[in-house]
Subunit: 270 residues, 2 copies
């Protein structure tokens, strides 16, 4: 394998996943991953451009950022690319009025969206709101549409909380896809449009950017398909089998964000 110096040559911008990289969510909000608070601070003091790119769809950006600030992170709402605002833009552009299968904590993101007489379903990481009743309602809305549109905020299989692995929105997206015979439109990682919108805000080309995430498919595979490089951290939902994934090979595996930032700053183009 190439040296770190070769692998990191020409990097000008860093995209950071949040859950499983910065912190592990859980009861009471969650806990920072050791070293990550300092790593973010060091990265932001460097000449590298930094943006946070998350599939978090259980909390609004405001609430997520508030939580991370309380945990000690230097982060502001404007630095975060998240799927709910991206979905709202799509809804407006296409005149879609969603039935929302979402967590109450993210409902405020959809405040300005017309949800009367729905002509599509938007599904997000609803956690306990993924009741049979709520799933069945979303299913019935889709089945009554002539051209059913299902928009999913991410398609993650699971994420890591302090208490263990938790089912993510992708599982419920698959349930509705199968029941209704539709294919969901994914807003969030690994959708190329989503990564590209983050790069555009940073003003960095894909070949100059590197993604750091804990999801071998959603973060690493998705970023690489956009022409970016990607590192996988051995925190969050990382599992040892990820390093032998049949389809995706990261540009590097690191123990945590702190190690990734060490390497990046060490091999920064002078």
């Amino acid at each position: 394998m190439a040296t770190w110096s070769e692998r990191l040559a020409g990097v000008r911008g860093v995209l950071l996943d949040i859950s499983g990289v910065l912190y592990d969510s859980g009861a009471g909000g969650g806990v920072p991953i050791p070293g990550s608070v300092e790593a973010v601070a060091r990265l932001k003091q460097s000449q590298l451009k930094v943006r946070f790119c998350t599939n978090e769809s259980q909390r609004s950006r405001g609430k997520l950022v508030g939580l991370l600030q309380r945990l000690g992170f230097d982060i502001s709402e404007g630095e975060v690319t998240a799927p709910a605002p991206a979905a709202c833009q799509i809804l407006k552009e296409r005149g879609l009025r969603p039935h929302l299968l979402i967590h109450d904590e993210i409902r405020s993101e959809f405040d300005k969206i017309d949800t009367s007489n729905p002509n599509c379903v938007v599904i997000a990481d609803a956690c306990d709101a993924f009741s049979y009743k709520n799933m069945n309602k979303a299913f019935q809305v889709l089945m009554e549409l002539e051209n059913p549109v299902l928009i999913s905020l991410g398609k993650g299989r699971y994420y890591k909380e302090t208490s263990g692995l938790m089912l993510d929105v992708g599982a419920y997206m698959k349930a509705l896809e199968y029941a209704c015979g539709v294919e969901a439109e994914v807003v969030g990682k690994p959708s190329p449009e989503f990564f590209q919108s983050a790069l555009q805000v940073m003003g960095v080309e894909a070949h100059q950017a590197i993604m750091i995430g804990d999801d071998i498919v959603g973060d690493v595979g998705g970023a690489q398909r956009c022409g970016m490089r990607a590192l996988q951290v051995r925190t969050g939902k990382f599992r040892p089998s990820d390093e032998h994934h049949p389809e995706v090979k990261a540009d590097g595996y690191v123990d945590n964000l702190a190690e990734a930032v060490d390497l990046l700053l060490q091999h920064l183009d002078k």
Copy 2:
């Protein structure tokens, strides 16, 4: 298309789906589909062998049969092929100890099964018990197994209740398959073993048998792949688009069970 006489030639045994053919389930138990009580009675008075072949996994066979008897049907528990008893046999044969994600109404079917220290998950139509908490628990059990085994009682997309279409177990099976990266073993229609076990009890060869159901894929397609003929009724979950299904074509479409029985008795081999 061949005449009914040709299509029904040599039929000696009839397999009847229950939900959507005999009755529509719903609040208070459900209601018989008009003409079905009499149709079953006429069929059982004929020289044809009759067996009920259901994917019902929300109630035990005893409770289902009790309900149908109260609705007026001539049916006994021994005449019903259902997935829970078939699953119990598989669990015993393979030394599997299930974590059960099922409805309380069917729990008694698993009374004699060891559920300590689970090494597999059995999922059935759990309805309101498909909470996020219960789904997450099943997911976590599977993720902790070295060789995860997921057994699904049927894989229906949805069924019809008097109040409307309802999500069936198949949707939740797909959710767990995706989240865990496993493929479920389906016990119930359209599994060939399941149809064959029903035929064996009847003592009828596949080419002498006809399935009558409301599910174009699970009932009609499944039975045909076993060498049986199959009629679809325009009751239950039937939708007009089923008659133009891209992959499955029934040997006939009839308005309801009463019409199917009329045709069968009219064209019975003398």
